[in-house]
Symmetry: C2
Subunit: 428 residues, 2 copies
């Protein structure tokens, strides 16, 4: 049987990972697929750069046409990242009937619809298991294994950088800026960390998961986003005192009033399966109407884990080519409305600096009561000078009511500053 | 488009679950599949029994030929359980080109090879996601998402009954027999609990997982099996003292000297991801050469969770029928030898009753040293009369050396009884 021919666009971390895995496990992989997987061209910027991997230099090209216009190429692997030129190349590959494997969350989260349409037209596969959770199987389990379920909820730790940072802050009691510098030194955070610490990376992944889980198109713009930049050592200390741990979660819910999709820091109880997911590990918790609670855990990034997902997608695309068939295409056949953020319900942790004098707590409690926010617990700590810190945890309330109460509290003359508001999730 | 026609053999717990899920989520499921899934016949023993589900009585039949000989039926769902007559019916269905969906671990663990051969001949699918881990996606993730990896190790809590019992014993300090009675009262354990508590159920599931993970046929007879019947409240108490928790694990490893497949109670450190998997939950930990550590968690049994897996398999089989293609068939193309149990390496916990007199510990320590078993820790407790209890934990040693040392210890005049030997696993 002829080999299955692969062209790869890019040879960065993920591309190298996929290449190495398919090279080192070639015999097993070829037996599983029923044909030889052969890389025939790899697009790079600089053909002479030393990449530290064993590679025939003739494989490298700087001209995308060597891949996109080669009719013998069956599968295009896009690992350039970013929207341009990845998107143009991907559309072109799909339109000409080449199956596309990508780990490009930016592109899938924003242009999944267009890419699926091109795959449909071209009769090709579009696989992107590596775009969420690195090596963790999650896209295919949602599309296949859990496909008979109405998925009600997804809660995920889907950004390794911030989970590493929050874990370190929790273990060491250190503050955000110190830990960020350490993470940057170790290569776990980028020099410009915004995409991770401000929640955009997680939001892209959540949009992809929600689209598949709820059968409705969710894009990056639909996701409410808060990052971890305001989390302080104090918040983490109070969390511990209240038996919670702090995690940056992507949360997606399918409710009768619409879809909730939000990325923000959360307090979750120690007993929740996600609470013990530490360091750079990711985990995605999925609740379905039939299956109940499931969770998928593993390494959410890196050369070999993400390479593992890309290599598996290549194998599946190859099998489909050999069988002249196609995998599951777009399943966003519904058009579910987005639920406005003010309509979500949650418990909230609120940390407020106030003047340490009689009547302050009463006036704060009055403001919450006035806006229909009932309080579950109150901690008051004397801090410095004539200021005291008050920590409140609410019962489950409407976000809009909470925000109204906070506005009212901020008007109180005895209130110095509302330092932080963090949602409390995952209580079973 | 015509509907996809399903015949189901059996309407017990799992069959009812699959039927209910496909009925209640019909609209979504049909859109995903691209055709209507229609149950046309269901084999039962008694057509008049009240099953508490909404079902057209004309669907029921007591004659298997109404399903197996009906050429219009595309997919046969086998949920009878046991080997006979499930195996005959399944072979017949596959041979005539009907795809087979089953959750029957007994049949797959013993006759997977024969069933795959029949599927190949008939050009049909053979899917069995529900046979391991109930609703947890694990078979398809291994066959697809992780397929580029050389899987090195699987460690799983794959029997809910024993995990429930061990969790209760740990939380309450109660003894085995009391907890077994409670589990039986609650319906978590069968009247005859042997298959669960003696480890056979877990062993069947492990054989299935190992066959897929290592690409070599592993059957029930290949699995070394110890159940939980000898675990006492004392063992659990000592485990806690040593920072371990007790779990019944299925462990499969692919080593240069052959395949290890074993089911037995283990001490695992609290920090291991499997340690916090409690009650009836299952979890399967998989280590691959590229992906590193992954874990899959969820409800390992029950009408709706296992029904979820069966319903998803039906959907995949239906898609394949519509596309005139087949899913992944047998991948056991290797013939790896089994590693003899004496050649495995582990740490061991050993609890021994001895005479409380000078020199006893020295003679025991001598016996272990003589057989090349080095000790990591020793606890000695005075218990009753002139007898004392000694608890030893070894370093990593050869099983054969450990067994030789135990034989030697049992000969010592000062040793009353070796109460228990439990392997210590999962230290990273």
């Amino acid at each position: 049987m002829d080999s299955i021919k692969i062209g790869m666009l890019g040879l960065g971390t993920v591309g190298k990972g996929a290449y190495k895995i398919i090279a080192s496990n070639a015999e097993m992989i070829d037996r599983k697929v029923g044909s030889h997987l052969e890389f025939v061209k790899i697009l790079v910027r600089d053909q002479n750069k030393d990449r530290g991997i064993d590679l025939d230099p003739n494989l490298l090209t700087t001209d995308p046409a060597d891949i996109l216009d080669d009719p013998s190429i069956d599968i295009v692997v896009e690992v350039l990242g970013g929207i341009h030129p990845a998107m143009d190349y991907s559309l072109k590959a799909l339109a000409s009937g080449k199956s596309l494997v990508t780990a490009n969350k930016d592109m899938i989260a924003e242009y999944g619809k267009e890419l699926f349409a091109a795959a449909e037209t071209g009769g090709a596969d579009l696989f992107f298991e590596g775009s969420v959770g690195g090596g963790i199987p999650i896209i295919r389990p949602l599309k296949n294994c859990l496909s008979a379920n109405r998925i009600m909820e997804i809660m995920g730790i889907i950004n390794g950088t911030t989970n590493y940072m929050l874990t370190k802050m929790t273990k060491e009691g250190s503050d955000y800026n110190q830990i960020l510098r350490e993470a940057q030194d170790k290569g776990y955070a980028e020099a410009d960390p915004a995409s991770d610490v401000e929640g955009y990376d997680a939001a892209r992944k959540l949009a992809i998961l929600a689209s598949i889980a709820f059968n409705t198109r969710v894009t990056l713009n639909d996701v409410y986003i808060e990052g971890i930049t305001r989390i302080s050592a104090k918040d983490i200390e109070y969390a511990r005192e209240l038996n919670y741990t702090v995690k940056l979660l992507g949360i997606a819910k399918d409710t009768p009033e619409g879809i909730e999709v939000r990325v923000h820091p959360c307090f979750i109880p120690y007993s929740h399966p996600l609470a013990s997911v530490n360091d750079v590990f990711n985990a995605i918790f999925v609740r379905g109407d039939a299956v109940g609670e499931t969770m998928f855990y593993g390494r959410g990034a890196g050369e070999m884990p993400t390479g593992s997902a890309v290599a598996a997608d290549i194998m599946d695309a190859a099998r489909d080519k050999l069988r002249h068939t196609q995998g599951i295409n777009c399943t966003c056949f519904d058009h579910k409305p987005l639920k406005p953020m003010g309509s979500i319900e949650s418990k909230y942790y609120i940390r407020i600096m106030v003047q340490d004098k009689p009547g302050v707590l009463a006036s704060i409690a009055y403001a919450f009561g006035d806006k229909d926010v009932s309080l579950a617990s109150v901690l008051q700590k004397h801090t410095e000078g004539n200021m005291a810190e008050i920590v409140l945890v609410t019962h489950r309330v409407l976000e809009q009511n909470l925000q109204n109460a906070i506005l009212m509290v901020e008007q109180l003359s005895s209130v110095g500053k509302v330092h932080n508001i963090i949602r409390v999730e995952g209580e079973l």
